[in-house]
């Protein structure tokens, strides 16, 4: 009797403790980043180019824009491919083929990001003989495709079969029923999954190291090397300069804030009040 109570209390405390550790790691990282990054954040950080070694000050405007352009390419190239692939998996196909595709998508999701970087390097950089925003965008697209495929498939599968039948019974072709009923019904979830997926690859460093490379200046267009926030954090953090460490913290904080905003936006979209007239 007493033993049972003891085991019960022990297990309960253990689960509580582990939850506490999990949450506190998150808060510790957040707090540390805010503590160090906040002091270094100023208007200059968002508007100026990096200063040469030895001079203090300057900012990472080019890296912020660079990350923006990389994500734009990810959204233009990777997300549509993943989305349409997800529609296929959910709505078409027999039994075996989708199983194979699904399995391979999961494999792709597990490929180490540095390998994806090498792939994009071989595919784009070797041919164009140049590091470029495009190469980085393609690397990030490869990263985002499996995430988008699976989240699109999952949310489309959650759309009730009765809606599909309702549309078909009114004389809609299969394709039309998917476009006009099934996808709109699953849109909120798909959008959320996509935002989270893009936010996740936004912080990837390894695929960018030898695709987008880096740049201490502005990178016009899409076929020149570009700075990006994750690579800047990496470069600055391992440098021997005090002022660069300071800026690496700031860049880390900006990156984290971007993800946080994306996450909150995704939650708002998913909450029923966010989009009443779906």
């Amino acid at each position: 009797m007493i033993w049972r109570k003891f085991v019960n209390a022990f297990m309960l405390s253990l689960t509580g403790l582990c939850t506490l550790v999990t949450v506190s790691v998150l808060f510790f990282v957040l707090g540390y980043l805010v503590f160090h990054g906040w002091r270094s954040l100023n208007w200059e950080f968002f508007t100026q180019l990096p200063k040469p070694v030895g001079e203090t000050g300057g900012g990472m405007a080019n890296a912020i824009v660079g990350t923006g352009k990389l994500l734009l390419l990810t959204i233009v190239i990777g997300v549509p491919i993943g989305f349409i692939g997800g529609v296929y998996l959910s709505e078409f196909g027999g039994k075996v083929f989708p199983f194979v595709i699904r399995y391979m998508t999961d494999l792709l999701n597990g490929v180490p990001s540095i390998v994806v970087g090498i792939f994009a390097f071989a595919l784009v950089v070797m041919r164009t003989k140049q590091f470029s925003t495009l190469a980085g965008g393609i690397a990030l697209s490869v990263m985002v495709i499996p995430i988008t495929v699976r989240s699109t498939e999952q949310f489309l599968r959650a759309v009730p079969q009765s809606l599909r039948e309702g549309a078909l019974a009114l004389g809609a072709s299969k394709w039309k029923s998917i476009v006009t009923v099934v996808i709109p019904a699953g849109m909120r979830g798909i959008l959320t999954g996509t935002i989270l997926g893009v936010a996740r690859v936004a912080g990837e460093t390894a695929p960018l190291l030898f695709t987008a490379f880096s740049n201490r200046y502005w990178s016009p267009g899409f076929n020149q090397p570009t700075a990006s926030l994750p690579v800047m954090v990496y470069t600055y953090a391992i440098s021997p300069y005090e002022d660069w460490h300071r800026q690496a913290w700031a860049a880390g904080l900006v990156l984290l804030s971007m993800m946080l905003v994306a996450n909150i936006a995704a939650r708002l979209i998913l909450s029923p009040k966010g989009a009443q007239n779906a």
């Binding site: 309702g166 549309a167 078909l168 009114l170 004389g171 809609a172 006009t180 779906a278």
Partner: protein
């Protein structure tokens, strides 16, 4: 003797003779749907056995029978809705005004043969967009015409007065009974020649049920109705003709009053009087 065996009146044992087509005595209406020798399979499972009947135009035909007897499956062959299920297969013939539905373009067929489902399934769109959906996928785009057609359909489904001021609200804001009438309006908007109703009232309370039964009467003028129901009183109330299914066979098909008062088959009588099912 051999000739006697083929006489339609003798082949009553649930259509064991494949040539049998049930038609009700004294039918005055022309036939809208002519079903003969219909067999249906889910994979290896034989679900419908040699079903044959003639569904009269501009009448309400009810299909009754215990759960799993194949009446819903039968309904779903009439607009080929079963095709959404993998490994489902139908053999035999279903003629819509003499045209074989299995050879028709399925989109065209479903525009002529509408369907209302057991659970109301409005789209997550506004009331207006729900009713206009079928017209839009049929290529209707002009706003004024669309508005008129939506109003006409909602009136025929006896829903107009309740929703006319909130056409642009989400269909999910409606009550269960209203949603089902919305689905009827949505099906009527494309002006189908036949409307199939698959237990349309099974999830509704008696008041909502009464409203739907009432509106069915008004639809007969332009439409042939086939309703699957669990509820025998409902069949007796709304239908001129009734078919009784048991274990995948059409046991008996006749005028409703004959089915309920003087059934010719023992199985029908047992079911009507509540001895099983």
């Amino acid at each position: 003797m051999a000739a006697m065996a083929n006489f339609p009146g003798m082949a009553g044992k649930g259509g064991e003779n494949p040539a049998v087509t049930h038609h009700a005595a004294g039918t005055s209406a022309p036939t809208k749907l002519h079903v003969s020798g219909l067999n249906f399979y889910y994979g290896a499972g034989h679900v419908l056995h040699d079903v044959g009947l003639e569904i009269p135009a501009n009448r309400v035909t009810a299909l009754i029978g215990p759960s799993g007897c194949g009446k819903s499956t039968f309904l779903r062959t009439l607009n080929r809705m079963y095709e959404t299920v993998r490994d489902a297969r139908a053999e035999g013939s279903v003629l819509l005004d003499g045209e074989n539905v299995f050879e028709m373009d399925v989109v065209r067929l479903r525009r002529r043969v509408g369907m209302v489902f057991q659970r109301s399934n409005p789209f997550p769109k506004s009331i207006f967009d729900n009713v206009a959906y079928g017209l839009r996928v049929n290529g209707w785009m002009r706003k004024a015409e669309l508005g008129d057609a939506v109003e006409r359909s909602l009136r025929r489904a006896a829903l107009w007065d309740e929703v006319k001021d909130q056409l642009h609200k989400s269909a999910y804001a409606l009550s269960g009974g209203q949603q089902q009438r919305l689905c009827i309006a949505r099906a009527l908007a494309v002006e189908p020649e036949v409307l199939l109703l698959d237990e349309p009232c099974s999830a509704l309370d008696p008041i909502a049920t009464a409203k739907i039964e009432e509106l069915l009467f008004g639809l007969k003028e332009n439409c042939t109705l086939v309703i699957v129901t669990h509820n025998m009183q409902q069949a007796a109330r709304v239908a001129e003709y009734t078919g009784f299914f048991l274990l995948g066979r059409l046991i008996e098909f006749n005028k409703t009053e004959i089915i309920f008062k003087r059934p010719r088959q023992k199985e029908t009588e047992d079911y009507i009087t509540g001895r099983f099912g």
